[in-house]
Subunit: 363 residues, 2 copies
């Protein structure tokens, strides 16, 4: 009996979704355990030429709108029909902007294969007062599937041109499925490893943006690499501490993975959160983030500013503000309650607590 | 009975030594547990004006040669006589170039107070085939004193102008002494914390220079932040792995401290190792490090290149080369056996071993 081959569908076709499809398509051709074809759900758009985006992708093998100049592979098939795109797939890769995920999940209820496995590449979940609203949980809960995550230092355009990079798969229990995702994504220039810590991996992808704002303030104040490195380190420590407080299963070691320290470094060196925060500090906080965003980002929104606010609400609600001086200072700078120079003015308050059987012991 | 006050002497007066004296002098004035005066041993030099360096320091409160423009504090006393400088001190701060330490230790045998405590701020110990020759051990062994270390993201000139930074004190057993060192160095802009891991802290200060070469190659090849972040992360992992193999007491958590991730970031963003490695890669490896050093560093030597060689010898001697693809590749690039592009061409070989009761279990 021939073992059943897996069929992969990528739900999403933006910049990162297209790169993911390219990575996957190179592997499904190479590996016997996958069907060659990779279906990619594309939110249909009419291009200035009058053609439909899916038609152009299928004719040229390029996502001319979101990843021009890069061949995705002939085995990538763009499909404008969401239900049709997923109906035969047992491996579903979600890579849309996070605000669309709830709607997509609702549309997919009852439409996917019963044994399907999912993975989320979506960074930037919302953090509600009660705690983070993990995209992987959203997918699991709506669709009744196991959902892994893939995060890391992944600037789509750099991976598209095959510059060396890494990523981390976070999985819950099933190591075998995690390994299958690793095989599906791993290439000679994109090295993927798996850790058993969905929440830790997923939280890194969101929280790093708050630290990137702090790093941007340091840049805008011309404080030098030394200070920037110190702020990034304190930020990493707070990322680790809040993740462990919210999910006691989160592992320290996850923060040494690509999703942790490497993604943090990339985001604090480049990235739009850092860039706008630098401009904010250079203007002494006198021009708001809304104004700078509008001017610098052509309509894109900064995730860091809203995540900082959300994190602040969690900290405030749980009475943890003083344990997280960097996170709380970033938010207070963003809303104008503190000047940008405050980013280095707090006294360090290393989170003084331990977690005993899931509850916090302050000391 | 009045408690006995501690007397501090700084052995060394280069750029970092002068900044250390400044930090310490601000605290001895402020804290009751220390005598105000901080003695600083200065290797005497005649300045172009004909004056002696110690005389100018004592007249102007500035180290005009190694830290011009920065007041050290009136309570810093420069002393050209090494034996005289240390004779009444019970807290000795060593901060000289590492190649001078053995000679200094030999001169100090029998000349220091019997109850003295020492701390080393010296980065860049040698790594011999049998293992690293820790400066803290050199001091302990020669002088029969307990020796802590202080490492971290410490660019002397940035701390001199009171830019925010951090540092890590590594101690062996005596937490109380470690806390005293923390009090002596800690200021509002220089935040110091202590960890019980001398070897881990000290090894970070040396091994980071090898990773900085790797980061410089990535810069010289214009590979972007994503690749650079990945290489820095792999480097941090190898720093952690080799430290734990050499000293099974080394803690993972040390690498999250300032001495670990923060110093690595600073060194891979600025720093002369990174800079020369960038130039090396831009020249396709066709101009040797010796040549680039001579041209770019005004006679200073690159620690990273010799450390990479020393680490390679340890790895080779212990048959660990394949466990450390980044460290070994850096050395092979430095000596021209591999092209700079090899820095991202190895296949990742995550060190597959565990340490059981101090010996390695490969699997």
């Amino acid at each position: 009996m021939t073992p059943v081959k897996s069929r992969v569908t990528v739900v999403g076709s933006g910049n990162w979704g297209s790169v993911a499809a390219k990575l996957i398509a190179s592997n499904t051709l190479r590996l016997n355990s996958f069907h060659d074809e990779v279906r990619m759900w594309v939110y249909e758009e009419k291009l200035p030429t009058g053609e439909k985006l899916t038609q152009v992708i299928n004719r040229t093998n390029e996502n001319v709108k979101y990843l021009p100049g890069v061949k995705l592979g002939k085995n990538v098939v763009a499909d404008p029909d969401l239900e049709n795109a997923v109906k035969n797939a047992n491996m579903l890769v979600f890579v849309t902007p996070h605000q669309f995920m709830e709607g997509i999940c609702k549309r997919l209820v009852g439409k996917i294969m019963p044994n399907a496995e999912a993975i989320s590449l979506i960074k930037g979940m919302e953090v509600k007062r009660e705690g983070p609203c993990m995209i992987s949980s959203l997918i699991s809960d709506h669709l009744g599937v196991n959902c892994c995550v893939l995060m890391g230092a992944n600037i789509a355009n750099e991976i598209a041109v095959e510059k060396f990079s890494e990523a981390t798969v976070g999985y819950r229990k099933d190591k075998q499925t995690a390994d299958q995702w690793v095989h599906l994504f791993n290439t000679s220039y994109f090295m993927v490893s798996a850790v058993q810590d969905v929440e830790g991996v997923e939280l890194c992808g969101t929280l790093k943006n708050v630290v990137a704002l702090a790093a941007g303030f340091v840049d805008g104040l011309d404080m030098g690499n030394n200070t920037k490195a110190a702020i990034m380190r304190i930020g990493l420590r707070e990322m680790k501490a809040i993740s462990k407080l919210l999910f006691p299963t989160v592992k320290d070691s996850t923060f040494f993975e690509s999703c942790g320290v490497a993604d943090l470094i990339t985001t604090c060196l480049g990235g739009r959160n850092r860039k706008c925060a630098e401009a904010f500090a250079r203007n002494g906080g006198k021009r708001s983030f809304d104004e700078l965003e509008a001017e610098m980002l052509q309509g894109q929104k900064l995730q860091g500013v809203s995540t900082a606010k959300e994190v602040y609400e969690v900290l405030s609600h749980r009475k943890w503000l003083e344990l997280f001086p960097l996170f709380s200072t970033v938010h207070e700078i963003c809303i104008g309650h503190l000047p940008p120079t405050a980013i280095v003015k707090y006294r360090e308050q290393p989170p003084k607590f331990s977690i005993v059987e899931g509850s916090i012991q302050l000391f």
